[in-house]
């Protein structure tokens, strides 16, 4: 995947642009979208406790990678929805979904040795997405590009807010 900061920049930019169209998507929900963008990377726990270590510990086949599939991400998003108070559950669910979805789509563009990347529909389907192989998560390029885009979106938003504040005075 692109690194986590690139994912956060993408989620920020997408949610902030959508907020210009959807009034309910306030700054609080842009933040929720960014939290959603982190969700699929929970799978990175394999860097601390590798799959084979868990298998040795439990004596059964085990893989953290399910957390980065469509099904695993859906369950994680549902956990977030349950944690939200009932009166804000729907916008939280939508914002988390947008953030997590943007992460999965960005991961689908990753370089892999087979040319195929994420399993967006697992466990319903094993099919991996065909990838153009644009980047690795260890390369700073995506972070720089997405950071520039996020900064531009932020400046446009600030401008829109100050124009609208001036008009309402």
């Amino acid at each position: 995947m692109p690194d986590l900061l690139a994912h956060a920049f993408i989620a920020y930019a997408v949610c902030r642009v959508l907020s210009w169209r959807w009034e309910w998507l306030t700054t609080e929900y842009v933040t929720v979208g960014m939290v959603g963008a982190l969700i699929p990377d929970i799978t990175k726990v394999y860097l601390v406790v590798p799959n084979h270590a868990m298998e040795r510990l439990l004596g059964t086949p085990f893989s953290w990678y399910s957390l980065g599939t469509g099904g695993g991400v859906l369950v994680s998003v549902l956990i977030g929805v349950v944690l939200a108070a009932s009166e804000v559950r729907r916008p939280v669910g939508v914002a988390l979904g947008i953030g997590a979805g943007s992460h999965l789509l960005a991961d689908s563009l990753l370089l892999t040795p087979t040319g195929y990347s994420t399993q967006l529909l697992w466990p319903l389907s094993q099919v991996r997405t065909l990838s153009p192989g644009l980047y690795l998560s260890t390369q700073p390029g995506p972070m720089v590009v997405t950071g520039v885009v996020a900064a531009v979106v932020w400046m446009v938003h600030r401008r829109r807010v100050s124009v609208s504040d001036a008009e309402s005075e």
């Binding site: 929720v32 099904g71 349950v82 108070a85 804000v88 040795p113 087979t114 260890t138």
Partner: protein, 176 residues
């Protein structure tokens, strides 16, 4: 609608149980080259002879550079795989990901592959940590937890660092 502390905790536990059931399910998903799900290191290590002549995907740490030998970690231990036709120039300790045909037990003829340098892995760790901090900061500033139900709600006004520090120092006001 689940909006009590107990209901919330129960629901989270159920969802965590569902999540936990996906870990072994994923690890045991059948190999399906048509779906581009190929045998990987642990599959090859457990029964190398079964995959000779098949396309496999290997991720390993470089042990030797010429010839290229990578170590793959599995539940039973580790396995060394020699990679031919790779066209790569990795350093020892780098992570290598290759795709190719297993020509013999412990020998792979690569058709595609790349190196993930150690330096790049440190970058990814560091930048991801920063991202986590930034998002956590935004979450704390914009959201709070209702003590009565443990549900997250947006704050009426964004918190400031000073206000948060005052809250957690002795003599601060009670929780929301």
């Amino acid at each position: 609608m689940i909006d009590s502390t107990r209901g919330r905790l129960l629901a989270v536990l159920c969802l965590l149980a569902v999540q936990a059931s996906l870990f072994p399910l994923y690890a045991q998903q059948p190999i399906d080259p048509a779906a581009h799900v190929y045998p990987e290191g642990p599959d090859v290590a457990s029964d190398p002879a079964a995959y000779i002549g098949e396309r496999v995907e290997i991720t390993g740490i470089v042990q030797r550079t010429a010839p290229l030998v990578v170590r793959v970690e599995t539940m039973e231990g580790s396995m060394a795989i020699r990679v031919a036709n790779h066209g790569l120039s990795p350093e020892r300790g780098a992570k290598v990901r290759v795709f190719g045909t297993l020509t013999a037990a412990g020998e792979l003829r690569a058709t595609d592959g790349f190196v993930v340098p150690q330096r790049g892995r440190w970058y990814a760790w560091g930048i991801s940590f920063l991202a986590g901090l930034w998002v956590l900061y935004r979450l704390v500033v914009h959201w709070r937890v209702k003590a009565a139900t443990l549900g997250f709600v947006p704050r009426e006004t964004p918190a400031t660092i000073r206000a948060l520090l005052e809250r957690i120092t002795p003599g601060a006001e009670g929780l929301d």
